[in-house]
Amino acid sequence: MLEGDAAAFNELYLDLRDSIYSFVYRMVDGYSAAEDILQETFIFFIEYPEKYRPERGSLFSFLCGVARNKTMHHLRKCGNLLETGTDAFADCLVTEDNTMQSPLKVLLEREFETKVEESLKSLSPLLREVLILRELHEFSYQEIAAISEENINTVKVRLHRARRIMAGLLAPYVKGKGNSCHAMY
């Protein structure tokens, strides 16, 4: 690809395009911003292919790192503070009383998807990126740490907090025994 093989680049682009775009789209709000960031990510790779070093990880994680940095820059530019929202939803953590008091009897699939999407977007960007990279793209802790330029313990803490907040936000959609929200499935 570095030698300018158009076919190789095309194959590579088609393989990674949707995954990177999905990651960026979940991080920012809006198609246009996500598409801009996707363009910038691949243009960066085209202009500076030597920045990628295979010994450091896969090309997908490298491109995710580039996209992640551009996404964070975009969020900062838009006044979206990275830490905002971390504590605002702490009250939504799973509690003993409010989770099962009013369980919905019928969950429409569309409503559920909307709720999950809204819950994810209500997380702070730092928690959101860790959760997306782990749950949707199945990156390891080491890879997430490399992408987000943090140490591995920070990644674990953020992932733990993100899961607890998401469990609290999605608790009303759970029915079943006890407070466990996995009873739905």
């Binding site: 300018g4 158009a6 680049f9 095309n10 682009y13 395009r17 949707d18 995954s19 775009y21 999905s22 789209y25 979940r26 198609y31 996500a34 598409e35 996707l38 363009q39 691949f42 243009i43 085209i46 202009e47 799973v94 559920f112 998807e113 709720k115 999950v116 999407e117 994810l120 959760l131 997306i132 782990r134 749950e135 949707l136 390891s140 802790y141 674990k156 992932l159 733990h160 899961r163 607890r164 998401m166 469990a167 999605l170 759970v174 006890g178 407070n179 466990s180 929200c181 996995h182 009873a183 739905m184 499935y185």
Partner: protein
Amino acid sequence: MQCTEIEKLIDPLVDNEISSLLRNDVERHIDDCMACGEYYANAKYIRRSLRAALPTVAPSDEVDAFVRNVFHRTHKRIEVEKKGPTRTGIFPQVFIPRPVGAVSFVVLVALLGMAFELGRMWASHADSSIPDMSATPAPTQLVERPVFIEKTVEVPIVKEKVVRRILYSNGKSHRNVGKDRRIDRLPVNDILNSSVAENGYLTQTSLKGFQPVSKIKPTIIRGDKNHEK
């Protein structure tokens, strides 16, 4: 192990990033502890929910076209840079190394200089060997040219001072004059050699060349010679 310690290990267990030794301990604890088991189930539930509710999305075709276009343009630029600069000029096929070109230029300039000098020498030699008979000597003429000598002289600036003086023709018009007997002996029409009062003293001053500003009526003193006239 306590629940606080287990809670830190549930996420690695869900993500399959736990050692086999710890895995058995954590799984055993989860089976016994309801709170830890609940968190474990929630974590797995969130993963399934996210994957079910958030499918992979694709960008628009415009983005694909733009990225591919950028790739092609960059690819062409890299190819041009690899080929190096293209030769342009009158004879692009002829390659002349720079050192050879520089030496050739110097030699060419030296040859041109030598040819110019030779031409000048030949021309001067031809002038001296062939006398010009058509030229007639011009008649000599002596022309005197004025020689101007310039000299700068510093001239001091003198401020003109106007002094007002009172002119007395005889001693009667002033009391001091009256005391001076010599004035009475002055000739009547010798007004130009009269006395002038300055700072209260009478001095003998020549007023020749001055014009009187007022009429002076001198008193004629009779003398011996006047009677004769």
